[in-house]
Amino acid sequence: MTGDPLAQAERGVSLWRDAWLRLRRNRLAVAGGLMLILLCALALLTPWIAPYDYKAQDLALGAAPPSAAHWLGTDTLGRDLLTHVLWGGRISFAVGFVATAVALAIGVLYGTVAGYVGGRVDAVMMRLVDILYALPFMIFIILLMVIFGRNLVLLFLAIGAVEWLTMARIVRGQVQALKQQEFIEAAVSLGLSRWTIIRRHLIPNTLGPVIVYTTLTIPSVMLLEAFLSFLGLGIQPPASSWGLLISYGAETMEEYPWLLIFPGLALSLTLFSLNFLGDGLRDALDPRIAKD
């Protein structure tokens, strides 16, 4: 929030500091944030800390319960589950963050332009969003994967490309409200260009709801990836993601429960952390709630 001296002097710095102070008081949110940092660190360090090669099999061993050699046990092909949970986390996190970033970039830009320009442009842009909403997005992704072949980057982009719609709507509503505020009028009267106003004033001021919605998008994207991989359109063995580990684990849950429990725990932990953090951020960034 640097730049426009007027806005800064009035509310910029104090809003963010206020938010930070409020967030810090929310224990669940802080715990969620710390847990996320820990999980991200594990995902990043996987190649160095994973106990086994994720491709290594021990057919004769088969599915074994947790032991000293294999902390989380092994799957039916004798592969170390801890290793797979770690590597799967990398992919789940990558999908979650990259696809969300794509959705974020498209959605925020699109929503801001539609909201700020308004009028006919807004009407056309939002009807386009409505049309895309009406399309069965699963079929859209499947078509993309079939036409361009399967690859991980495309999967990220494809998921991002269908997840931006809600984001665009939220941002547009926010911008429409902001447009009426004095500081925008001031900026207009100072002669700033439209693009500068969007970049400098509007986007930063929509960040609150955007951050909150982002923390909610990440888990939904992770679940979507699991679904696609299960259909054979996403990650293929021997690589795996949490979603895949869970769907395979569910098939043998009666014989080998640990194959479902541990990946399930990892995914739930992440989703809970993200949700707690998202809730905390919402409370912290919404000044109206804070006044209670």
Binding site: K55, Q57, A60, G78, E251, Y256
Partner: protein, 547 residues
């Protein structure tokens, strides 16, 4: 979108919990037992219900209920028994068969089933524009091959002759000991001409005559309902000539691709019989409910097709290297776990007394050497290659195990790809694959059923491989042989050529492992997994199975 994902997850969870919510009241199986309705787990959704187009087992189980050929098989002995033909004679030289059709054979709309129905249907099945993969089943008949390949345009010259509406004479090209067995295969079933002509061009694919409401068949059951990916329902046909002996009122076929889901449905009392069983469950059932588990010998094998048109797979040394680096003992013992036998030949051992000598052995060292000779020392420079399988837990598990064996022994990267059954069939059919999983169940008990598919451009070959020496051995040497030993010598030579070139990698010989409720009767075990649905019935009450 959030809510939708969550709902999907919840559904999966509920399914995973063994459908606990369905408790209370009568299960589908109990109701079925009372009403003589069989609930049959059929593996996958049928590709089609046109007997002259389809190629799979799920389709087979439906079509044998809907249609009937000239001759049936006794499910206990696999000997021919009368079907539409009430009797038949074979000439002394084994070349001419005369079939006498029964007077009371009827289509489900009441029309009589006549000799000209068969002649017309066979002519349709052989017409090149239909693209019937199983056209070669007819090749024992005089001039059938020439007609199917377009060299002969006049069906009148093919050895099928309508003497009168109830007499059909078939003249063979060479004595064929298994000819009567072929007549029970869906590719030789009759179809109802007026219906086919009503719903489109009978000689093109894509006709709607197989839809429920359109379908007219001559089998013990008639098509009632075909809900995509949900169920195919057939009910007892009142016009069937032997309707008095048909005990079931209906059969419901469920396409359940996921074997774990199928097993849970069985346990929840929703299926009488499953198509297979998850490998991990076999040990559990052996211990806790052995009366439900059926492990039966099966005349079938499991193999990988190699597309020989793909540059890196065009070299037979590469193909042999791939075959030699798979540890089949480990696979049958730890991955499939269902009593399967490691396969080092293509034809299952002792197929009607025929056993081929092993064509190769598990030899990773030799495999590495072959791969190096082919220009990929230690796997270097071997292009990424894709292994295709139809979506199923069992196929996936095996593919992952073999992927790792190839990586470990040959240091080559194989990626995996799974597809829905129909898409997979389409891609394999059109050669859009590099390596593809496959299984083959003998259509009849004779080594020919395993070997004639590999002749050049054979309908079920699909590997692009062909060798004139092989064709000569299978198509000329064996049919001309007068006695069994000479015939089998031709087959052994042919199989040696096949395994030398290795367009397919045999992995194991199958067993038929499935689950069955105790009340199901009239399904004796046989090598082909062949049920005669008109003999099947359901017994109420929890009684021990006796067949």
């Amino acid at each position: 979108m959030n809510a939708r994902h969550l709902a999907a997850l919840l559904c999966a969870l509920i399914a995973a919990l063994g459908l606990a919510g369905c408790g209370g009241g009568e299960t589908r199986v109990e109701t079925g037992n009372r009403e003589q309705v069989l609930h049959w787990g059929n593996g996958t959704e049928p590709q089609e219900l046109d007997p002259h187009i389809v190629t799979g087992m799920p389709e087979h189980y439906i079509l044998i209920a809907l249609l009937e050929g000239l001759v049936l098989k006794d499910p206990a002995t696999l000997e021919p028994i009368p079907g539409v033909a009430e009797r038949w004679e074979m000439s002394a030289d084994g070349l001419v068969y005369t079939f006498h059709l029964r007077a009371d054979a009827r289509w489900s709309n009441g029309d009589p089933v006549t000799a000209s129905d068969f002649a017309w249907s066979w002519q349709r099945a052989l017409t090149p524009s239909l693209g019937n993969s199983y056209a070669y089943m007819y090749f024992a008949i005089r001039n059938a091959e020439a007609f199917a390949t377009g060299k002969l345009a006049d069906f009148g010259q093919v050895g099928v002759e309508v003497l009168d509406e109830r007499t059909l004479r078939v003249t063979l090209d060479h004595p064929t000991p298994y000819f009567l067995q072929l007549l029970d295969h869906y590719s030789m079933f009759p179809v109802h001409r007026p219906t086919l002509e009503q719903y489109g061009d009978p000689y093109q694919r894509g006709s709607t005559w197989t839809r429920a409401g359109h379908f007219v068949g001559n089998g013990p059951f008639a098509l009632d309902q075909w809900e995509l990916n949900k169920v195919v329902v057939v009910s007892k046909s009142p016009t069937y000539w032997d309707a008095a002996r048909v005990k079931l009122n209906a059969i419901h076929y469920y396409p359940v691709e996921n074997v774990s889901t199928e097993e849970r449905m069985f346990r929840a009392g929703q299926l009488h019989i499953t198509a297979s069983i998850p490998p991990d469950k076999i040990a559990v059932y052996r211990k806790e409910a052995p009366q439900l588990l059926h492990v039966e010998p099966y005349l079938g094998n499991y193999f990988y097709r190699l597309n020989t048109q793909v540059p890196q797979l065009a070299d037979p040394r590469v193909r042999r290297a791939l075959a030699m680096s798979i540890d089949r003992e480990q696979i049958v013992e730890h991955v499939t776990q269902g009593g399967q036998q490691p396969a080092y030949t293509f034809t299952p051992p002792d197929t009607l007394g025929y056993t081929a000598p092993p064509g190769f052995a598990y030899d990773p060292e030799g495999a590495r050497q072959l791969l190096a000779e082919a220009g990929y020392p230690n796997g270097q420079g071997f292009p990424p290659t894709e292994l295709l399988y139809n979506t199923s837990e069992g196929h996936r598990k095996l593919a992952v195990a073999i992927q790792q064996m190839w990586k470990r022994e040959l240091n080559i990267e194989i990626t995996l790809n799974n597809q829905d059954w129909k898409v997979y069939l389409d891609n394999v059919d059109n050669g859009h694959y590099q390596i593809a999983r496959a299984g083959w169940i003998g259509d009849y008990v004779d080594p020919n059923s395993f070997l004639d598919m590999w002749v050049t451009d054979g309908g079920n070959n699909r590997t692009g491989w062909g060798d004139p020496r092989y064709d000569a051995l299978v198509l000329q040497c064996a049919p001309a042989a007068l006695e069994r030993e000479a015939r089998y010598r031709c087959f052994r030579d042919a199989e040696a050529l096949l395994l030398e070139a290795m367009p397919v990698i045999p992995i194991f010989f199958s067993t038929r492992n499935y689950l069955r409720q105790p009340g199901v009767r009239g399904l004796p075990a046989n090598l082909l997994g062949y049920p005669l649905f008109k003999q099947v019935y359901l017994q109420v009450g929890d009684v021990q199975s006796d067949d």
